[in-house]
Symmetry: C2
Subunit: 297 residues, 2 copies
Amino acid sequence: MPGVFICEEIEDLPIREIGGEESDISAESPIGVFDSGLGGLTVAREIMRNLPNERIVYFGDTARVPYGNKSKATIERYSRQIVRFLKTQDIKAVVVACNTATALAIDEVRRTAGIPVIGVIEPGAKMAVKATKNKRIGVIATRATIQAGEYASVIRGLDPEIRVLGQACPMLVPLVEEGWIHDRITDEIILRYLDDLLEHGVDTLILGCTHYPLLRSEIRKLVGGGITLINPAYETAIELGQMLSEQGLRSQTMRSPEEPNPYRFFVSDDAGRFTDFANSILPVDVKTARVVPIEEY
Amino acid sequence: MPGVFICEEIEDLPIREIGGEESDISAESPIGVFDSGLGGLTVAREIMRNLPNERIVYFGDTARVPYGNKSKATIERYSRQIVRFLKTQDIKAVVVACNTATALAIDEVRRTAGIPVIGVIEPGAKMAVKATKNKRIGVIATRATIQAGEYASVIRGLDPEIRVLGQACPMLVPLVEEGWIHDRITDEIILRYLDDLLEHGVDTLILGCTHYPLLRSEIRKLVGGGITLINPAYETAIELGQMLSEQGLRSQTMRSPEEPNPYRFFVSDDAGRFTDFANSILPVDVKTARVVPIEEY
């Protein structure tokens, strides 16, 4: 898909000094959102829809995607580098818009960011606890997220009686990225993954990977209306709004439609599919994503 | 699969000075083999089978896998770092055991390695040219390998009359890594990808990604006996033997069965699946893979 993606040279980047003062941060500063690649755009989308006055700086780690099969130490290192980059953009808060990075590195991000941080797991887990009636919650996610057990741990911290059943679904991200969304093969793979969870009678299912909301209508079709689907991207946007309000960091002014670049996109590799994907799911037109040499941060 | 993988600390690593002299290199030195992760093990396997006196240092870039959807500049940088690491192990030659890295970075590796270099594309392309009778060759590979057009370019350099048809198959690597090898879903996906190539009447099919030989028997079953399947891993091992002989670098002494560690394995991340996968396909027992901080090379 060459030709759509406009990759600008890194020299053009208005990157500030690393470790510079944070005195420029205000309620009008942007929110830093990051993910291993494309999936976190579903979180950015919910922020755009639900917090329309906010500005966003998005970073997708397209050079090192996917995170789902990598170790905690590696994901922590990647997350630290990304937060260091995002902070050069005067962000007021960090959204870890990746379930794997949240599961493996949110503590590390909180420890090092120095500004408010929110991940996607707690908001999704909280809503699932509210939604379940039979106290059986299913979680589908990458292998790393399931193995980290963070959804189960947060849910049981809220209600120890709830049974949490996890299912790693490594094929779903490639299927979404291949564009096979409404597809018989995808349906068959989803059913294979969900078989066990459905047999165990879960009444609530967390879409625990930021790509999965894009399969939401397929999953809805396959599981029927009796199961509540939880989209942590939506819950995260809502909780982010509350967190910003509490900290006096919520943008209060209606953004002018003429404001240039309220949403800015950065990637670690210009493989060319980022803006295509972004334009296919976001309510705004994404013209460019700038390449950042993230290993240097 | 924790518990199987023994990840030793990097401090234990007998890493030599980067940029040290190459005076220790002899015919008994190991061959450096690298891949984005697990797939290159099919090339290592063919070297073990066909050049049993050779020693191997294998590097799998498990922290940055996959390469198939990344840019040329990124793959070149990764390959340079890996060759710098491999050279600390006194290797006598480099095998780029990854189709994407060969397609995008072999020139860069040749330019910087200072020792003989072989990739997987030329050997596979040459054998396909020998095998085809109707001058129609199909290539299945990652998106990056197909887009790079290297197979087509090498093949047409040998015989401009040959028509080369490429098909990117992004789902096949995840399927192999999920272990769904003999599986109805996999068969259906393979057939979907091969449909066009078969309709165009190719009589020779190059398995242009190092994971694909693991699907060889499924592909054989689906395409029937009339199509020659080319495994570049095998052809590369044979051509590697010739290259080493020509350069006086072929190991002449039968290795003692007691020799400790003729095959050594390094990875960039200890996500834990490397040794499991290695043990499932290699004719030797792989106990450890050491983690290398490859970004520092």
